[in-house]
Each structure stands twice: as C-alpha cells, then as structure tokens.
C-alpha cells in the first residue's frame, strides 16, 4: 500500500490541490463547507463529492456531541483526576479513527479511479480537506491503481 502511495505522490502528474475550508457558521464545531469547488467540476460528480463532505460533517458532529456519553466520560475522568486518559482512548479519538477508515475507503472506491486523493483533515490541523488533483493520464484515467490508500502519516 505504501509503495503505491509513494508512486502516486512522487509521480509528476500532480496538477493542483484544492482546499475545502471550514464552515464556521454554526460556531466552533468542526464542519466543512459543502460548496463544490469549480476545479473539480470535470473530475467528479457534484453529488458524490457533496455526500462525502456531508458524511464527514456528520462524523465530526458525532465526535463533538455534548451528550450522555461525553458527560459520563468527563465525570469519570474528573473523578480519577484525569489519570484515566493515560490508558483510555477518548470517544473523539475513536471517531477520528472511523473517519480515517472512511476516507481511505472513499479514496479507494471513488476518488483514486478519478485521479483524485483526499487527505484526512486531521493531518491539516482540521482546517481544510485537501483534495489532490492528479493530471488525467488519458485513457480511462485510472493510472493510480485501486489499491491506493489515503495519505495517512504514521502516528
């Protein structure tokens, strides 16, 4: 997987990068703008892209939800003087893992065949969704193989 990713990244066919910015209209919660960028117009269907962004927004909303589970986690952590964070993974981290899995799947199924690559926003400080646009290699445009994984750095 890494081998293919390296090929994709080092190949000189990277044309440009498109950035989807954050949508702050609902406050500081993590949400990305669903506006479809014009540079992607020819590469991918609007609905597919918007669905991806909407699903990501749903995941982030779930991670940041202030509700029963987060209260329990917060109270338990407080009661243990926050020592519990040394051994327990927070809900937010669990959802972020789900999100990377989702992005990887989306890259494999939808974006790589169209010569695009989504970067997990967590690697860009949750500021942007970076879409790498690769040059169309001509016929079928599927030079990155379907095994391409998304760019997840070692953590």
């Amino acid at each position: 997987m890494f081998h293919n990713l390296q090929e994709l990244r080092q190949s000189p066919s990277l044309a440009t990068k498109v950035f989807i910015q954050r949508d702050y209209s609902e406050g500081t919660v993590c949400r990305f703008q669903i506006k479809f960028p014009s540079e992607l117009g020819s590469r991918i269907e609007r609905t597919l892209f918007e669905d991806t962004v909407k699903t990501l927004n749903t995941y982030y909303a779930e991670a940041e939800k202030v509700g029963g589970q987060s209260y329990m986690e917060g109270c338990l952590a407080c009661a243990t003087a926050y020592f519990i964070f040394l051994c327990m993974e927070t809900r937010y981290e669990k959802v972020l893992k789900k999100i990377s899995g989702y992005i990887q799947e989306q890259n494999e199924k939808i974006y790589a065949p169209r010569g695009l690559l989504l970067t997990d926003p967590v690697e860009r400080g949750m500021r942007v969704i970076e879409v790498s646009v690769f040059e169309d290699r001509g016929s079928s445009g599927s030079s990155p193989s379907s095994n391409v994984s998304s760019g997840i750095s070692q953590r």
């Binding site: 390296q6 080092q10 950035f19």
Partner: protein, 497 residues
C-alpha cells in the same frame, strides 16, 4: 558533508544528516541515533518538549517550578507537622481528605502544564499559497510592502465575527483562536498564557486548568483552616508562644495559605463566571461580547443557560492534539515551493533536490549580504520585501523544503521571516498586549506576596535580542541542510552585531 551536532537550548535535538544529492534519503552514513526525526523536534513554535515529545510546555518554566515547590512544601509541612496531631485529636479523615485533594491538585496541574493546549499546526506551503491566491484575487493586485490586515467575516448564530489572518501561521484563525506571542503558536479557544502552569490555557486543557485552581482553592482553604485549628488546640494546652516554638512550620503554612487563598479563590470565582457564560479570558478582557459594545452584541457561543455552559466546558468531548508531536517527519513527500505568481511548480524529488543546493547557495549568499547591509531588519522591511518578490523564490526555506519535504508537517514561515515577524507580531501584539497586561494585573496580587520572579516578557520584534531569537526560532526548525544552516548562522551573527 558537514555533521551538525547542534544542541539547541530549547529542544536538544540533533540534526541527523539527510542527503540532498542522492535520490535515496536513506544514505546517511553519519547519523547518530534514530534515522528519522520526530515532529516535535521540527516544531516551529517556541515550546519545550520532554520525554521524547510526550510533554509539551512553554519556553519559560521557572514560575511553574515555583508553583510546584510552593504546593509541595506547604502540603509536605502540613502532612508532617499538623496531620499527626489532628488525626489523633480530631479524626484521621483529615489527612485522608488532604491527601486526596493533594493528589488531585498535582494531577490536574501536570495535565494542564504538560498537555497540548490546542495548538493549531501552521499551514502547509500549498495551503498558504492557495490562501494567498484567494486573497490576491479578492484584493486585486498586491498593494505594497506591508499587506493590509486580512480579515474574513462570518456570521455565527446571528452574530458577525471577524476571523483574522495570522501572518506567522499563515492561516485564518478559527473563531475564538488567538496567537500566543510567548509560545508563537495559534491556540484554539485561547484563554490566556499562564506562567504559573508554564503553558497556554486553551481548548484542550481549560478544564484541567479550572479543576486545578478549584481543587487548589479547596486545598488551600483546607490547610489554612486545619493549621489554624491545630494552633488553637495546642495553644489551649501549652500557650501560644510555646505552640509557635513547637510547630514553626505552621506559621509558614498560614502565611502562604493566607495570601494564596485570596488570589486563588478569586481566580476560581472569575473562571467559574467565565465558564458559566462560555467566555474566554481573552474575550472578557476585550469585552467582545459585552453589551457596552452595542445593544445587539451577545455571545454567540453561549448555550443559553449556566448549567449547559458548565457541562459543555467541563464534560464536553476532549479533542485530541492536532500537532502529532511523536509522529515521524516524512521525508519522502515532495513539497512544492510556495509560488508568487499563482502557478505551482511540481516536480520529482530528484530534480528539486538538485536545484535546491545550487539555488540555495545563491539564495543564502544573497540573504547574508542583505543582512549585512541592513543592521536592524525591522527598520527597513523594504529590502526584505524586495527579496521576497523575486520571482520563483520567495523563501529561503522554500528550496530546502523542496528537497527535504516534510509530508504533513507544516513548514515554518521561513519566507520573509521578518515581514511575517513584523506583521505577525505587531497586529496580534495589540490584541495580546492588553490581555497580557491585564493578566499581569490579575496575577499581580499574588505576585507580590509570593515574590514571584518578573513575569516572562513578550519578545518584542524591535529589539535585536528578540530579533535574533525570532530569527533563530524561524530558521532553526526550517532546514536541515548544512549549507543553509551555515548561512543562517552567519546571518544571526551579522544581525546581532
């Protein structure tokens, strides 16, 4: 190739030699320890890291050690001298409760001091370039040497909020984020920089900070009350003067606790108010949401009632750190140079590295000569801007970052560092100077009695010392190339003359 074993005072990192001539980055015959660098070692902000990146603090930690020493000594004296008497005379629950409070105080203090407050990583060159392009499109052609302050307006829950552009981090700051001039980082939901805990207080550690001051208030009141009780009970038996002779430590504890109580309990009260109205110290000091600004001015982040605000602040989800301190720096991802004319240049790593060394030589020499000609950069930003506007090469770090790409790692702002210093520091300083001066004022009434050392001052852009610091701060993490390092050293020496 030169081996650099530079031990930085901040980070104690070692530069492992990375070949820029060969195509395989693994040919490094002189590396000492691990072949790969961790991201904390290349972190652009002014932070200190310990335990291989697990612990993150501000640069000046002297006052934190003072806090720790005061807590340890006072509690230690209490447990040693007062508790034996009290547990026998009154109840053994006293040392138990005291012990629990003590452990809680230390736990929350360490959490506050050692964790990432919510630092926003700096923009990657691609992002920064994209933003620049958008801004140029919006403004028309660039208007000169000092670009106008860039703001974006956004409507949040019916209230118009201005998002400011951070010239240091090259991002539009999210709402409620602010740039800490002491740590040189943008921090989400920035509350204030607390020298007592040796760290910024922001989104990720605000609840720990609050629990720390709350539990410390309880501990202080607890110790104060029981030491007084101890002294009174003993005085009934043996007289006041004899008591003082027997337990001199109690006097010290009373003095420390007496002065601490006022300040810490006051601070806890203040932060309880902030939490219940969902404001940050920064916003409160600036009066961002005060009704004095206008009839329609209200806090768009408040949930409406005190209970929900408190729960959200204290029991809300804890977002993980965005800066990935312990991850490894990726050296295989090509990073294109930031463009000036809107056209991004992408190429294979090899050709870029080849270009890099040559261009770098020229660039470094140019820069050093420029530096020699301008003693104080701040007074003549013109020259540097001209440097910056050379087509194709905006940054000294640019070619380097091309050769030594840091995948996923935002490269520090080596392009026009002084320009960004000027712009990054001065406009935001206006925001922060108020906050910092007020914080000094708030902290002042426990600075006096406890004889704290003078609070860490901000490093002003103008002073040569601060200037060379800034340059070092900008340059050192930027490049791992020996040629660049040498030219930077020459530059620093020249500018500090």
């Amino acid at each position: 190739m030169l081996q650099l074993g530079v031990a930085e005072p901040m980070r104690e990192c070692e530069y492992s030699q990375i070949s820029t001539r060969s195509s395989t980055p693994m040919e490094t015959p002189y590396k000492k320890r691990t072949p790969k660098k961790r991201k904390w070692q290349a972190f652009p902000g002014r932070n200190k890291f310990y335990c291989n990146g697990r612990i993150m603090m501000a640069r000046q930690t002297g006052v934190f050690y003072l806090t720790l020493v005061l807590i340890l000594i006072t509690s230690g004296l209490f447990f040693t001298f007062d508790c034996p008497f009290l547990s026998v005379q009154l109840t053994p629950a006293i040392p138990v409760i005291g012990g629990v409070l003590f452990v809680f105080v230390l736990g929350t203090l360490f959490r506050t001091s050692f964790s990432d407050p919510g630092v926003l990583p700096r923009a990657t060159p691609d992002e920064a370039a994209d933003l620049e392009r958008q801004i140029d499109v919006a403004n028309g052609s660039s208007s000169g040497y000092r670009p106008p302050p860039r703001t974006k307006e956004v409507v949040i829950n019916g209230q118009t909020v201005k998002l400011k552009y951070c010239f240091t981090c090259k991002i539009f700051r999210p709402p409620r984020a602010s740039h800490c001039s002491l740590c040189d980082n943008c921090v989400e939901r920035f509350d204030h920089h607390c020298p007592w805990v040796g760290n910024c207080v922001g989104k990720r550690n605000y609840r720990f900070f609050y629990m720390f001051i709350l539990s410390l208030s309880f501990l202080t009141i607890f110790i104060f009350a029981f030491v007084i009780t101890h002294v009174i009970l003993r005085s009934h038996r043996q007289g006041f003067l004899n008591t003082l002779k027997d337990t001199p430590a109690s006097v010290l504890e009373v003095v420390v606790c007496f002065f601490s109580v006022w300040s810490i309990v006051g601070l806890s009260g203040f932060h309880t108010y902030l939490i219940s109205s969902n404001q940050t110290t920064n916003e409160d000091i600036k009066g961002s949401w005060s009704s004095k600004r206008g009839k329609d001015n209200y806090n768009p982040y408040s949930h409406g009632n005190i209970f929900t605000n408190c729960c959200a602040a204290l029991c809300g989800p804890l977002p993980p750190s965005l800066i990935d301190r312990r991850g490894f720096v990726q050296s295989d991802t090509p990073q294109p140079t930031p463009p000036t004319n809107g056209i991004t240049m992408y190429g294979s790593t090899q050709s870029q590295s080849h270009m890099c060394v040559q261009d770098q030589c020229i660039q470094s020499t140019k820069f050093v000569l420029q530096a020699a000609a301008t003693p104080l950069m701040q007074s003549e930003p013109v020259i540097l801007t001209d440097e910056a506007s050379l087509p194709g090469r905006t940054s000294l770090g640019g070619p380097c970052s091309g050769a030594l790409p840091l995948g996923g790692q935002p490269t520090p702002p080596t392009s026009t560092p002084n320009l960004s210093c000027d712009n990054g520091m001065l406009p935001t300083r206006n925001d922060h100077s108020e906050a910092h001066h007020h914080m000094d004022g708030v902290h002042h009434h426990f600075l006096t009695p406890e004889e704290a050392p003078s609070p860490p001052g901000m490093l002003p852009c103008g002073s040569p010392l601060g200037h060379s610091h800034t340059i070092q701060g900008f340059y050192n993490p930027a490049s791992q190339d020996s040629l660049h390092e040498d030219s930077v050293r020459g530059l620093v020496k020249l500018s500090s003359v």
